[in-house]
């Protein structure tokens, strides 16, 4: 059995808009190993969500994968027909979305919604599904699960709803859990609760997790490996320890210094100038070039390839070595 669970190569996804194409994802490659938690970090418009959701065909009717492969246990998900894809969704790969307020069907009971995923994949009888759903709710930390099964989503708090979403995603014992900004819409204390539920589930179940987030703090505290995306491309990918110490992409470093931590007071801050790109033209050169302090003419004309600069550490920057040298000094 291969160590790689999901192998995405050269994924390219476009969106059709009335005023033209949006080049959302441009040749993204990444791998997810068995049992690992992968963090994909980026700002809005970086393509972090699209690159993962397009593998499962969940990007809406205007989005289209135009190139690439995504092998999940050796099977290219992008070549599956509708029927085969359905067998993967929810069964092999579970997903937790950002906003628990809108991600649950407002007029169906919570229990039904957890049971549905098991019944759709014909895992068990209705009775058994009920028992399993109760156990799942308990696992994600919902008190009094028997009563909660009969509640409607509007009767639950935001944190509880997100726990229900996690229960749905875990219900079929998926090999991969995708969490798309699962804490962004929640209060800070509740964010902590949900992160801890996710970490526990990941440890207990030995599954792989992809954590999509804009928050470098979440990624570096939760994940084994971090991928930084910008302008629909992978900028850098490294194990978390390597990443926090030796990140080699100017964008990664800028992102890190953009995070205010307690104790930042009085520190001189240097915001990244400019705005994230709107990808209405095909990429030409490094997408970060406009905002990069180290930019050269080459950066504007030539898309940097992902290069290995240390073990398991790849970076897409023409001047990565200089960045590292500069840090070392």
């Amino acid at each position: 059995m291969s160590d790689i669970l999901l192998d995405v190569r050269d994924l390219t996804t476009h969106f059709r808009r009335p005023d033209g194409l949006v080049y959302a994802v441009n040749g993204v490659s990444f791998q997810v190993r068995r049992g690992e938690t992968l963090g994909i970090v980026g700002e809005s418009g970086s393509g972090k969500s699209v690159s993962v959701l397009s593998i499962l065909g969940l990007i809406g009717e205007n989005g289209k994968v135009v190139a690439g492969t995504a092998e999940f246990e050796g099977v290219d998900l992008l070549k599956l027909n509708r029927h085969e894809m359905r067998a993967v969704r929810g069964r092999e790969i579970g997903i937790v979305f950002q906003d628990p307020m809108t991600s649950l069907n407002p007029i169906k009971r919570v229990g039904q919604q957890v049971m549905e995923v098991m019944l759709v994949h014909r895992l068990c009888s209705k009775q058994e599904a009920w028992d399993r759903a109760v156990a799942l709710l308990e696992e994600v930390g919902i008190a009094d699960p028997h009563r909660r099964m009969k509640n409607y989503p509007f009767e639950l708090s935001g944190g509880m709803r997100q726990r229900v979403m996690i229960a749905i995603a875990l219900a079929c014992q998926p090999k991969l859990l995708i969490a798309d900004e699962p804490t962004t819409a929640l209060d800070v204390t509740v964010q902590m609760q949900v992160l801890s539920v996710l970490r526990e589930a990941q440890v207990n179940r030995q599954m792989s997790t992809i954590m999509i987030t804009h928050d470098l703090g979440v990624a570096t505290n939760l994940c084994d490996r971090v991928i930084v995306m910008y302008g629909g491309q992978v900028m850098e990918s490294a194990p978390v320890e390597e990443f926090v110490r030796h990140s080699a992409h100017p964008y990664s470093r800028a992102l890190k210094s953009s995070i205010l931590e307690i104790g930042s007071r009085g520190r001189k801050i240097a915001p990244i100038p400019g705005n994230p790109p709107v990808m209405i033209e095909p990429p030409r050169g490094c997408p970060f070039a406009d905002r990069c302090l180290l930019v050269t003419d080459r950066c504007r004309d030539e898309i940097p390839d992902l290069r290995i600069i240390a073990q398991e550490h790849v970076v897409a920057c023409h001047r990565a070595e200089e960045v590292l040298e500069h840090v070392a000094q």
Binding site: F97, P106, H121
Partner: protein, 320 residues
């Protein structure tokens, strides 16, 4: 308990509103120049009587006024009518002083009701699938054809459509009778004529409601669970869209009942509509008030039912 309180509140509101509407209608008819309370209402013979024997005429007029309460002050007249309406004692019409209006209602109302109900059921059964189909096939020719047809259905008033139906299926290809009432065949054309506009309305509303719902995130969740597309549409999107649709179907029923008056005239159906010309064309105000009372009550009861439907369809809404 909550239901009892809710119903009580609503029923009181219905009674008050209906009473206000009766009063308003009465006053509006009372002030109408030269109609409703005109002496002509007592009939042709009375005119000759007035010329020949003024005294006898006066006596007859007094008798007539007394019968309809016209000898009393206006507010008492209004009160009398409200009271009579709620006790279902509608009296007799000017035109036909021997037959109680209630008898006419008993024979006419069920016919109009069946027509309206039939058309609403037909339009719901046909309109909902059409709307869903158009939503699922959004921006394809199916959608365009559906949208155009449903706009067409709404644009053409039911009486115009009725006339066209009579022309085609009654005259050119005579497969359905175009007048009378009593057999199932006779009900076909009028019900279709009434339903066409409603079908368009329901279909278009269903379409836009489904498109909205299909764009919501819980549909994406359903897909992410591996739910087949048809189930995402029918089990998740449809029930949520239905909530919005109830808003349209409810008032539509009442509106259709009004629409029956035109259709009944055209198809010579002895429903409530046949009385309409008499009530308003011949200024027969006891009949007119009865009409308004019945329809107003129907509208309000439908609204009440719609609200109850909401609470059944949507757990978030509680009876208040």
């Amino acid at each position: 308990m909550a239901i009892a309180k809710f119903l009580t509140k609503r029923i009181i509101a219905i009674i008050i509103t209906t009473a206000v509407i009766i009063a308003l209608s009465y006053i509006l008819m009372y002030i109408a120049p030269g109609s409703f309370f005109n002496q002509q209402q007592v009939g042709q013979q009375a005119q000759t009587l007035a010329a020949e024997n003024p005294q006898a005429f006066q006596a007859m007029m007094n008798d007539w006024k007394e019968r309809y309460g016209l000898d009393q002050p206006l507010y008492l007249q209004i009160w009398r009518y409200i009271y009579h309406c709620f006790t279902l004692n509608f009296g007799t019409s000017f035109e036909n002083p021997t037959t109680p209006i209630m008898d006419t209602l008993k024979s006419g109302f069920p016919i109009s009701f069946i027509l309206a109900l039939g058309s609403v059921i037909l339009s719901t059964i046909v309109g909902i699938p059409l709307g869903i189909l158009a939503a699922v096939r959004k921006n394809t020719w199916v959608d365009y054809v559906m949208t155009t047809l449903s706009l067409g259905g709404q644009a053409i008033p039911s009486f115009v459509f009725a006339v066209l139906l009579m022309l085609v299926f009654g005259v050119l290809i005579p497969i359905f009778p175009i007048s009378g009432w009593g057999s199932v065949q006779q009900a076909v054309l009028p019900i279709i004529a009434l339903a066409v506009g409603n079908i368009g309305n329901v279909a278009q509303y269903m379409r836009s409601s489904m498109i909205d719902t299909m764009g919501l995130e819980f549909i994406r969740t359903a897909r992410a669970k591996g739910v087949p597309e048809w189930a995402a549409v029918l089990r998740h999107a449809f029930p949520n869209s239905l909530i919005a649709l109830v808003t349209v179907i409810g008032p539509q029923f009442a509106f259709t009942v009004v629409g029956t008056v035109w259709i009944e005239n055209l198809f010579s159906i002895p429903g409530l509509g046949s009385l309409l010309n008499q009530a308003f064309g011949a200024d027969d105000f006891p009949l007119a008030i009865t009409y308004i009372f019945i329809l107003c009550l129907l509208v309000m009861i439908t609204n009440l039912l719609v609200d109850i439907c909401y609470t059944i369809l949507d757990p978030r809404i509680r009876l208040k």
